[in-house]
Symmetry: C2
């Protein structure tokens, strides 16, 4: 894993996402990396990211983390499929066509969350990414995102 995250390769115009834009100072600034064939990301919720019952992480945050991690995974996988390495050109932007999240067990507060992404299918402008979210080694939620590339965000 390098220090520079996948999201650090988005062009400036596509780097204002609340979840993962490096230029969004009020956002979550999610950072993902390749770890072999999987993408990985760690995030520690803030004290106010509580869910509907005591001690649990907010489900909307879990979906948000999956969404951004899937977008970066799709863009980085597209780059790799095209025969480039990170840094050869900027990442294109994938947006979410659909996201399904299954909440398997409560996600505990006060822990580092680990998200892992795997590309299930990749086509020219579309990718399906499956994501798990774990705390203390236990999978708490899993998701599947259908991501679509924005043509105007492709490197010229």
């Amino acid at each position: 894993m390098t220090d520079k995250a996948l999201q650090d390769y988005y062009p400036d115009d596509y780097a204002h996402c609340y979840g993962c834009g490096r230029l969004n100072e009020g956002g979550l600034q999610l950072k993902s990396h390749w770890d072999g064939e999987e993408s990985v990301c760690h995030f520690t919720p803030k004290s106010y990211h509580t869910g509907g019952f005591p001690g649990s992480v907010y489900g909307g945050l879990i979906g948000s983390l999956m969404d951004c991690h899937a977008a970066a995974t799709a863009a980085a996988a597209r780059l790799r499929e095209d025969g480039f390495s990170l840094g050869d050109q900027s990442l294109s932007r994938f947006v979410t066509a659909s996201l399904k999240v299954d909440f398997l067990r409560p996600t505990p507060m006060g822990k580092v969350l680990e998200l892992r992404g795997r590309v299930k299918e990749i086509k020219v402008r579309k990718a399906i990414v499956v994501i798990t979210l774990s705390a203390e080694g236990k999978v708490c939620a899993q998701g599947e995102a259908v991501m679509v590339q924005l043509p105007e965000s492709r490197a010229k």
Copy 2:
């Protein structure tokens, strides 16, 4: 519609949700109401709730709003099914078993978003709620949430 929102009837222990807890000062404080057979909620994203490309609302926020609106809709529908009115007893807490969101078109920034919820199925401890999110009268996203009641949150 009354001034008091559905979320205002959650017991204190279940009112710290980042999305809709009235006691979470750092949260979004989402407020939903009945409008006949549908539930409705309005929310204006903050300037930092931007998505992956210019002018669009963050998809993770859209999923979050749907999640909380569906939870309140399920709890209020359960209360109604049990023959009670709002205020007769506190709302029980429903948590999300799964949420699927389809993003149909970009959701524009700078607009009031309207969410509408409809109960598709309701059982003793489970409800399925379908949600639309619109801006300027156009549906931008639709969702389906499977919600499950926390037994310990039921009024004694």
